[in-house]
């Protein structure tokens, strides 16, 4: 397979779409990425990542709608639905399309408008990805699965509520430097856990996880333009290469997993991405992990191979995952504070890393990174897509 490069990135701010429709939101991000790529309307293939348009917005056929809105005729187009990993999947499929030589250019845009419904309807919508007979009918939500995971994980490795809060505090702080982040608000250990007010400030959502352990419900979109090396070189843009991708799956019902504290699909997806890139976790300078719940940032940082199992929270405590630390994680604010429009997230992670590798991350720029990593976590870990991205030259 030949190499695939990222020559255009764009996204909306994450937050509330207001009077913007899903198509408006997707269009905005896509137009930004196309403009950034400087290819004009010459894109051969379009992949739109989205999870909930059918349920939340009563829309289907987003791929065709996108081509129409952007006048990209007669580009090929399709919609990619893979739960919260839709974005990662679409970027992967785009990279396969370019990598195979089938096309030289592809636009990948992921987006979601979830605020069209109330918060608990949005939570219920996401819950439709759980096992219908063995999980969903019980009222199980994603926070519930994360809560059951967190209880075991925290017991086993000595992770405390304070460690979880540290993830939230770090990511909220990071988001203050990201103008595209949904939440622009710092939080403190005192207010989240240590004051008596914490029972109201930060109530349980699914014990032991509290409100500030969970990502917000967001609207927004993110897009990348992918191309062959030839096109990338002509563009004059910094060369950011998709060095490796990896995807892996796990059981639909979480209870079927032998060790319920393991995220096997994250481990395998990361291993595959590193193997394809010919890199190892220690080579990574900046990472975006899928912190839909604070516990997941810690667990994924171990499963992806950055820290020994059971030590992710210690690295966090030492500040190793802060900007300026050994491996800055979620400099964008992560899902926790940048927000999580489900179909957009996997693409937004790639956008963030590409910006850092290009040196275009503004105030939050990590110093001269060469290698970046993303992990987009679908279901409760039943479908995971990871990327290794590299700066050339």
């Amino acid at each position: 397979m030949r190499d695939t490069y990222i020559i255009g990135v764009g996204m909306t701010k994450f937050g509330r779409a207001g009077d913007w429709t899903l198509i408006d939101v997707l269009e905005y991000a896509a137009a930004r990425a196309l403009e950034d790529a400087g290819l004009g309307e010459n894109v051969e293939s379009v992949f739109v990542a989205n999870m909930g348009a059918g349920i939340l917005n009563r829309l289907s056929g987003l791929g065709s709608a996108m081509v129409d809105r952007l006048c990209l005729f007669p580009a090929a187009a399709e919609t990619v639905e893979n739960g919260p990993a839709s974005g990662g999947s679409a970027v992967k499929i785009g990279a396969m399309a370019v990598g195979s030589g089938a096309v030289d250019t592809a636009l990948v845009v992921g987006g979601e408008v979830m605020r069209a419904v109330t918060g608990w309807e949005a939570t219920d919508f996401v819950a439709t990805l759980t096992h219908p007979e063995a999980e969903y009918i019980y009222g199980v939500t994603l926070p519930a699965l994360a809560g059951m995971f967190a209880r075991l994980y925290m017991d086993k490795y000595g992770v405390t509520p304070e460690h979880l809060a540290m993830v939230a505090i770090k990511n909220h702080e990071n988001a203050m430097k990201n103008p595209d982040a949904h939440i622009q608000q710092t939080v403190t250990m005192e207010g989240l856990l240590h004051r008596p007010e914490a029972v109201v400030n930060n109530p349980y959502v699914a014990e032991p996880l509290r409100m500030f352990d969970c990502c917000p419900v967001s609207d927004g979109a993110a897009a990348v333009v992918l191309c062959s090396r030839e096109v990338a070189e002509r563009s004059g843009k910094p060369l950011v290469r998709i060095a490796g991708f990896g995807q892996a799956t796990d059981t639909h019902a979480v209870h079927e997993r032998e060790d319920p504290t393991e995220l096997a699909a994250v481990r395998t997806a990361a291993e595959r991405a590193f193997a394809m890139a010919g890199r190892k976790p220690a080579d990574v300078d900046v990472a975006e992990l899928h912190d839909a719940f604070t516990i997941l940032e810690i667990a994924q940082s171990e499963e992806a191979g950055f820290f020994e199992r059971g030590t992710g929270h210690i690295a966090l405590e030492k500040g190793e995952t802060r900007p300026g630390g050994r491996l800055p994680i979620n400099v964008s604010g992560g899902l926790k504070a940048r927000g999580h429009p489900v179909g957009a997230t996997g693409v937004a992670q790639v956008v963030e890393i590409a910006r850092h590798l290009r040196g275009e991350a503004g105030e939050r720029q990590i110093e001269k990174p060469r290698v970046g990593f993303t992990c987009n976590f679908g279901g409760f870990g039943n479908n995971v897509v990871c990327f290794v991205l590299e700066r050339e030259g």
Partner: protein, 116 residues
Amino acid sequence: MTAFTASVCRSCGAVAYPPRRRCRACGKTGSDPVPLEGKATLVTFTRVYNLSLAFEERYITVGIVEFQSGARALGRLAVDEPEIGMELSCYVAPVRTVGYETYEGLWFERPGSPAA
């Protein structure tokens, strides 16, 4: 005894719930149903707030249990203060109403509790 069944692989004896036609352990096809019954042990649990509109409770308690057969299942807990590793017994009762449809599911309680 519950109306819920797991499956046992005819080739290797692996138990699966929800039942599987093709075995996850050995990859062979062909299984027999086996009831989910008997004592179970609590593996993990959570109290869930922020429920869907189908629920009027402030929270519900759900957990994952392991039956003596090795089958695991998720269900509602009718236990005030659950503890990991506690022994539970199983019964079937309504868990959720979607539209006009009421779904039954697995409930777990302390053995000897008056069944709901």
